[in-house]
């Protein structure tokens, strides 16, 4: 814009001012800078590559539909029996099963339907009670309920064994299911204290992608600023 004004001042022909196309007129060739070439490249990309991608997408769609609709007749004709066999997950294996009913008849109505040894459903997940460092192990399993009592009822905390100074490294620092009276007070008074949190791989990747995007956009902004220096607003 500034160049055009300067050229006008020194007597060159004023090019036609078009709001949609700010290069034009007899001096268009000389005023076309990298911006114009870039725009031409962009339009070329749009006109050539996009239809190509569109066409390949439509071709894929046609292939997909053709593959689905073509049902080659099998060598052996399939009747309802074969259809059932094909859709079936197979015969159920022998053995003991986890019965789906969540609770069972009270003992005494016993008809042996409670599982292999009549003890009720077998836990398949969380077979070991797991605690985080700093948490008190919940009731259950072989934990002695009485071990929690000293913590609740006694005023001052019991002395900490010397070997346990510092944050717990691996196993939870508090779970003492055997009922040992010399247990350790939870650090920080709650769950989650002292644990090390490692991000998931997907989190790492997202962070890297974010950094790349930020760097890329910064680089583009700099490049654009270099190619097309800021112009004054036209009147």
């Amino acid at each position: 814009m500034l160049k055009r004004l300067v050229r006008h001042a020194v007597g060159a022909t004023v090019p036609k001012m078009d709001s949609r196309n700010d290069v034009g007129g007899p001096d268009a060739a000389t005023t076309q800078s990298g911006a114009g070439k870039k725009r031409r490249r962009r339009m070329l990309f749009i006109l050539v590559v996009m239809p190509g991608v569109l066409a390949s997408g439509l071709v894929l769609q046609e292939q997909n539909r053709a593959a689905l609709s073509s049902a080659a007749p099998a060598a052996m004709p399939a009747g309802p029996d074969s259809l059932l066999a094909a859709r079936s997950p197979g015969a159920r294996g022998d053995g003991d099963f986890l019965v789906m009913k969540s609770t069972f008849a009270p003992p005494g109505s016993g008809d042996g339907a409670m599982g292999p040894d009549g003890q009720g459903p077998v836990e398949r997940v969380l077979s070991q009670i797991r605690t985080r460092p700093g948490e008190i192990a919940p009731f259950g399993g072989d934990s002695d309920p009485s071990f929690v009592m000293p913590l609740l009822l006694n005023g001052p905390l019991l002395p900490v064994p010397a070997s346990f100074a510092g944050p717990p490294a691996g196993p939870p620092g508090l779970a003492v299911p055997t009922g040992d009276p010399t247990f350790i007070a939870p650090p920080g008074g709650g769950g989650g204290g002292g644990g090390i949190v490692v991000p998931e791989p997907s989190t790492w990747f997202m962070m890297l992608i974010g950094f790349f995007l930020v760097g890329h956009s910064l680089r583009r902004r700099i490049a654009r600023a270099r190619l097309a220096p800021p112009v004054m607003a036209s009147g």
């Binding site: 962009r42 749009i46 996009m50 239809p51 991608v53 569109l54 997408g57 439509l58 894929l60 769609q61 997909n64 539909r65 593959a67 689905l68 609709s69 049902a71 080659a72 007749p73 099998a74 052996m76 004709p77 399939a78 009747g79 309802p80 029996d81 074969s82 259809l83 059932l84 066999a85 094909a86 859709r87 079936s88 997950p89 197979g90 015969a91 159920r92 022998d94 003991d96 099963f97 986890l98 019965v99 789906m100 009913k101 969540s102 609770t103 069972f104 008849a105 109505s109 008809d111 042996g112 339907a113 956009s217 583009r220």
Partner: protein, 216 residues
């Protein structure tokens, strides 16, 4: 990136996304769970594949029932792949609108099929009784329907219950998982149980075929 959104490029990009992402396998408007594309369904030479239904010529296709009886099959649902625990199909398109209802339970295949007038309208993978409480085989009739029944013996919910015997064997909604069994009832996915409950009438026939290699 403002250029990617400007003018025609934006429209082209939208078209590209629609073309490549939009249309998956062509499917009929039936209620399908875990439909997989790509599997071929074997087609009987004199049958026709209409959408998701395989139609047979009259008298050409039968399925065995109990006591030597045979069911004349007019059409079957075309499942695209092997079904898993928790899967079901329900499609009444192309089936006769009224006709005798038959529920055929094949313990060996762990499949329940619902036929109306010889046309299959629904199928599901089932749970059945474990070794201590086996599901009885034979011919039964729906004795009672209850939308929200609760088992007194086992203190457990039995949604969409269809009672088969006086001692408690019924078809009802359940969490169908592999490796699980019931106390003798037939467990089907709850959504399928709702559909089955709505079409079933009292005294409808239920046929249970035994597991071939049953221990009992």
């Amino acid at each position: 990136m403002p250029w990617i959104l400007s003018g025609g490029s934006g429209a082209s990009l939208a078209l590209v996304m629609v073309a490549t992402l939009g249309v998956g396998p062509v499917g009929a408007p039936d209620e399908v769970h875990d439909l997989r594309a790509g599997a071929q369904v074997p087609v009987l030479s004199t049958a026709s594949l209409a959408g998701h239904r395989i139609r047979y010529a009259p008298g050409q296709a039968q399925l065995p029932l109990t006591d030597g009886a045979m069911l004349q099959v007019g059409s079957m649902l075309a499942t695209d792949a092997r079904m898993k625990h928790g899967d079901y199909r329900w499609n009444e398109d192309g089936a006769v609108s009224n006709g005798p209802l038959l529920i055929r339970i094949d313990l060996n295949h762990q499949i329940l099929s619902v036929f109306r007038g010889g046309d299959e309208i629904g199928t599901a993978v089932i749970l059945y009784g474990g070794t201590d409480k086996p599901t009885p085989a034979g011919t039964f009739h729906i004795l009672q329907k209850a939308r929200d029944y609760h088992s007194r013996s086992y203190d457990a919910p039995m949604p969409y219950m269809l009672r088969l015997t006086d001692d408690g064997v019924a078809i009802h909604g359940s969490d169908v998982q592999p490796g699980a069994a019931t106390h003798g009832c037939i467990g089907v996915p709850i959504a399928f149980a709702r559909r089955l409950f709505d079409v079933t009438v009292q005294d409808a026939q239920v046929v249970i075929l035994p597991a071939a290699h049953s221990k009992i």
